[in-house]
Symmetry: C2
Subunit: 336 residues, 2 copies
Amino acid sequence: MVASIEDVARLAGVSIATVSRALRGLPDVATATRDRVLAAAGELDYIASPFAARLASGRAATVGVVVPFVNRWFFAEVIDTVETALRKAGFDLLLYNLGDEAGRAAFFDVMPMRKRVDAVLVASLVLSDEEFDSLASLGSPVALLGLERPGFLSVRIDDIRAAYQAVEHLLSIGHRRIGLIGGDTDDPMRFTPPLHRRDGYRDALRDAGIEADPTAEVLGYFTIGGGSAAMEALLGLADRPTAIFAESDEMAYGALRTIRRAHLRVPEDVAVIGFDDQSNAELMDLSTVRQPVAEQATDITARLLAAIDGDVERTNVVLPTELVVRGTTRTECSVY
Amino acid sequence: MVASIEDVARLAGVSIATVSRALRGLPDVATATRDRVLAAAGELDYIASPFAARLASGRAATVGVVVPFVNRWFFAEVIDTVETALRKAGFDLLLYNLGDEAGRAAFFDVMPMRKRVDAVLVASLVLSDEEFDSLASLGSPVALLGLERPGFLSVRIDDIRAAYQAVEHLLSIGHRRIGLIGGDTDDPMRFTPPLHRRDGYRDALRDAGIEADPTAEVLGYFTIGGGSAAMEALLGLADRPTAIFAESDEMAYGALRTIRRAHLRVPEDVAVIGFDDQSNAELMDLSTVRQPVAEQATDITARLLAAIDGDVERTNVVLPTELVVRGTTRTECSVY
DNA sequence: CTGTTAGCGCTTTCAT
DNA sequence: ATGAAAGCGCTAACAG
């Protein structure tokens, strides 16, 4: 039914070894021969069986991409970018969505990527030592996006610095009473951004000589709903904050919503700054700190691919974030 | 280095054939033997090489999932659900994100899934006859989510009916002047939902004896930004609509935003109903028509898996949608 | 119930 | 520059 390498060899009048070489662009094939092979392959609509090729060569031409979610902005953006880069390089993308704690445990228990990928890309998951060992024991390059660990190549942003930038901006326009809407710091997936962004927030306040107030820090889900709920708590405070730093744009949207429902004005009554600069931030006129997601994904994919070819520079790259001032904080000196 | 089936056979004192049978749970293996094999495999941390197994068996244990986007709510939800179902069934998920028109053309040109998947799931892409032929020529079962085509198994909702439900609801609470915010009906990906939902809108108006007004139908991107822009156009109309049907919740969010910016009230001045009931709709208090995404994904995956095993019922399933009334249309008789 | 053996369709030495 | 042949690590008859 479907053509095999032998059919091509026969039609081109050469051996299967030559077909294999010609089709893969290896050197030491006469141009005329190569053309003949290409023509034969085209005629028969031939394509090498990936499984046979992988078995014989030992290369899987596949990278496993491990994510905790696929339906959140950050991860969807990562998958999108990585998929494009891999496809261009001739690699397949095998997706592993850990989902919940049970899925995560099952994953590291079974290690379904074993013997089927050349490399692994892990996005934003903080792993235990055992989990890191599991990955390392695959014997393939492992890359980390959104975190750093000695011995692995990685790319990330400086969450502490970025959060500091955001709060610094609020301080610079005169705010002294600044609330935090943050992610749960002990969620089962153990994300680090909530921790780091909170640290950056605290650092900025401290450097401004403002005493930390635990009641002004409200944690919850990294979603619109989470931000909305957190903002309600903050509005209920006796000493209401005049400005809010939300650890994600999604949370900021929720906060904006709650503020407007309370018939307060933004930024006159409450200024808001988010984090991410995701697709809707501009439309919402939300001030935020932009993090380069596609750039992180492109960078790490390229280096991971290089690592497969033996380039073993296990370095970490930190990409810069950027303050983006929009309407939700625009009013200068609004608070005095 | 890493254990092969021979190592296990040696350790268990059986042949490799028995190891293969025992590990795959095939019948005709003595319990004692199976236990011995399992123990040996466990000890050596053995797992069969998927490529060797696939080459020998002819089964890829993989399904290709083709989507036009990964970073939109609907598709992210689909991928999430399908991934879970496939993993549970022991299948790999190979993701193909078509991206733009060029990516789409390249995809159907090369057919990168050839010889590497047992089945294909296509989400929401309206394909040309040639493209359908390409897929059919893979010789594997092909399933469609979000559209229907004779000869393929598929699942979808009734977009016309669902849109009708939405507009009918607006009519039932007294509106006569109802605007449409819709998706571009000639976008390169050729999605059908915009077409069908617009038809449902028109049908509902017609059945209510209301004459269609082209100026009240504004099309654009299926995003918050698209909805926002469309709403601006509608507010500029001399005879401003008192109610809006947006073809997606995202568009509805944009519309709400524009309405509030214009200092109009919802639903008193303008009522809004969306489509999808996606994660944030409840929080936004948005009336909408719920479509069961996870259910569609689960249904089609199960039937696709069955089709791989030879169950060739190429049927189409239509899942019901449901009107969800919330605050953006709640006020009864608000318009008279 | 278990073992033997012939492939699956390539890639890769090693010759020539 | 090209061909012959030996695997890659399994699965699937076929015997027994």
